[in-house]
């Protein structure tokens, strides 16, 4: 079943044509990754899907509903959660309040409490630091918090923007382990990564972006074998 369908999306930043006719689909239950160099348009694609940047043409459909240019906070209400690049945790609030704010739109209090425990099991370090201010956490812990906060919205589709950026190799592996675990429990994931190798290893399918346009697509296994991909993104 198609959960997200993006068709011929165009985005301009002032005079810059950032996305050119980008199309892709995500099926329920998948992990799909967008890979590409800096400035290829990966983050812009996520922002266009979640309503953070206006699109000039094309369409985005989520669960069969047209969400093109809908305000971001309304899109979030459809259980499409964007975990933005650079963590963006609420630095002056405690870990627990950060997580509670993730469930801002939810009215099912008992279920929210259960999900809070689930996030703490997924990230035991956050449980240890639940009363600490988010700004005092390390980079890796902040990334966990950002993802945990996104999970608290109980999303059907989670957009993850560069979750491994600036993290030590051990933590990167930890983050990817959690991404797979989140996916196993039923959340579909659209992952943007510079670490193409790790991303292709967890993903079902992938799209390669170059200069704002989709250059290649296929299953992750195919792309891992593809000569062009190996040369450009996997270091030979």
């Amino acid at each position: 079943m198609e959960l997200l369908k993006v068709q011929d999306l165009d985005v301009y930043y002032g005079g810059i044509h950032a996305l050119k006719q980008v199309s892709f689909t995500i099926n329920a239950g998948e992990i799909v990754t967008l890979i590409g160099a800096n400035g290829a348009g990966k983050s812009t694609t996520l922002r266009a899907v979640s309503g953070l940047v206006p699109t000039s043409s094309g369409s985005v459909e989520f669960k069969g509903v047209d969400i093109t240019n809908m305000p971001a906070h309304k899109i979030a209400g459809l259980k499409l959660t964007h975990v933005p690049e650079g963590r963006r945790v609420f630095a002056n609030l405690s870990v627990e309040v950060n997580l509670q704010l993730g469930a801002y739109l939810r009215k099912d209090k008992a279920q929210v409490q259960e999900d809070l425990e689930r996030v703490y099991t997924l990230f035991p370090r956050l449980a240890e630091r639940r009363r600490q201010l988010a700004g005092s956490l390390s980079g890796g812990e902040q990334q966990m918090l950002a993802m945990g906060r996104g999970l608290m919205a109980n999303p059907e589709l989670m957009l993850l923007d560069e979750p491994s950026m600036g993290l030590a190799p051990l933590l990167v592996r930890e983050i990817f382990r959690v991404i797979e675990e989140i996916n196993r429990s039923g959340t579909t994931i659209l992952l943007v990564e510079q670490n193409a190798k790790m991303a292709l290893n967890v993903a079902n399918r992938a799209y390669v972006l170059e200069n704002g346009a989709v250059k290649l697509s296929g299953t992750a296994a195919e792309l891992l074998q593809d000569e062009r991909v190996r040369k450009a993104y996997l270091g030979g």
Binding site: T81, H82, P84, V89, F90, Y104, A153
Partner: protein
């Protein structure tokens, strides 16, 4: 009602009775009483601006404009239309809130410095518009306002303002405002309607500033459209209270409003030099407490008792080590 609420209510009522008693015994002169009233009005202004600047993170420096709207609108109603004082007071506050929405919707699309300049501009527009309405006295000022505000009014409305804003901040909606302050984009991705909360906080702040204005014009019996009354100098005064007390601290704003209203009076003995001493005090506070007197923290019974316990504990420890060395 919890035990703590009863104690706080008793203290607040006790303070009011004490002031009334001292006023009746002529220990507190009308002049002192007037300063106490001004303190209450300034607390309302500082706490309501803190809601916008400190809790929602939208740097506004046009707060005196809303104060002016409330002051003039309510005075116009009581003087020209003989509207009862309390109704005029509320009408003035509502009018200020409506203007708050009208200004907030376009201005709050801006951020940081740009928002500050825009609100400064809007504040001045309000002042100049009032200056050019002959029905409210124009540049001569608006005189002949009945002095209907008593100290009791300012005291009661100050308590109501603090209570309502404090409850708002600790509510579900208040938390959303704080999230907007912390990170607008992240708030939006969590489903928080950031525009709605920015405009709401701005409007609520404008409402209480308008209320303070109505109290003020009926306290003094006269108001004029000078910069230090309803213009940018007054806005800066309020801003200083908020920043000095600590952005995001209600008790800080209250403390700073009391301190900054009293200090020019206390320094009166220094005659002309007080306007040198006063800024020096401000500079020193900012040097040693850059986040404001209380930072983002609140002064509460719990914090006080923790502080006391730590202090007492330290002394006990000192005594123990002192015994050991003998």
């Amino acid at each position: 009602m919890t035990k703590r609420n009863i104690v706080v209510t008793a203290l607040l009522a006790g303070f009011y009775l004490l002031v009334q008693l001292l006023a009746a015994k002529r220990v507190l002169l009308p002049y002192d009483l007037q300063i106490l009233g001004l303190i209450c009005i300034n607390i309302m202004l500082a706490v309501s601006l803190n809601l916008i600047n400190g809790f929602t993170g939208q740097f506004s420096i046009g707060h005196a404009g809303f104060f002016g709207i409330g002051a003039y609108a309510s005075a116009y109603l009581t003087v020209v239309h003989d509207v009862p004082f309390l109704i005029a007071l509320c009408a003035g506050a509502v009018f200020a809130a409506v203007i708050g929405i009208v200004i907030g919707l376009p201005a709050l699309r801006l951020q940081g410095d740009y928002l500050a300049i825009a609100t400064l501009g809007f504040g001045e527009i309000i002042r100049v518009v009032i200056l050019n309405i002959p029905q409210v006295g124009g540049a001569r000022g608006f005189s002949g306002i009945s002095r209907a505000t008593s100290f009791g009014h300012t005291y009661l409305f100050m308590i109501l303002t603090v209570l309502i804003i404090k409850n708002f901040i600790s509510s579900y909606h208040g938390r959303a405002c704080i999230a907007v302050r912390e990170d607008e984009l992240a708030s939006e991705t969590l489903g928080i309607n950031t525009t709605f909360y920015k405009v709401s906080a701005f409007t609520l702040g404008a409402f209480f500033a308008g209320l303070a204005g109505g109290l003020f014009s009926h306290y003094m019996g006269y108001i004029n459209p000078a910069a230090n009354q309803i213009g940018f100098l007054k806005s800066i005064d309020i801003l200083i209270m908020v920043v000095l007390g600590g952005l995001g601290s209600i008790t800080g704003s209250i403390g700073a409003a009391i301190f900054l209203t009293l200090i020019p009076e206390l320094l009166r003995g220094l005659a002309e030099y007080r306007m040198i001493v006063y800024p020096i005090i401000l500079i020193l506070i900012m040097l040693f407490r850059p986040a404001g007197l209380l930072g983002g923290k609140e002064l509460s019974w719990d914090a006080l008792s923790r502080f006391y316990q730590r202090f007492a504990g330290k002394r006990q420890k000192q005594r123990v080590t002192g015994d050991g060395s003998e």
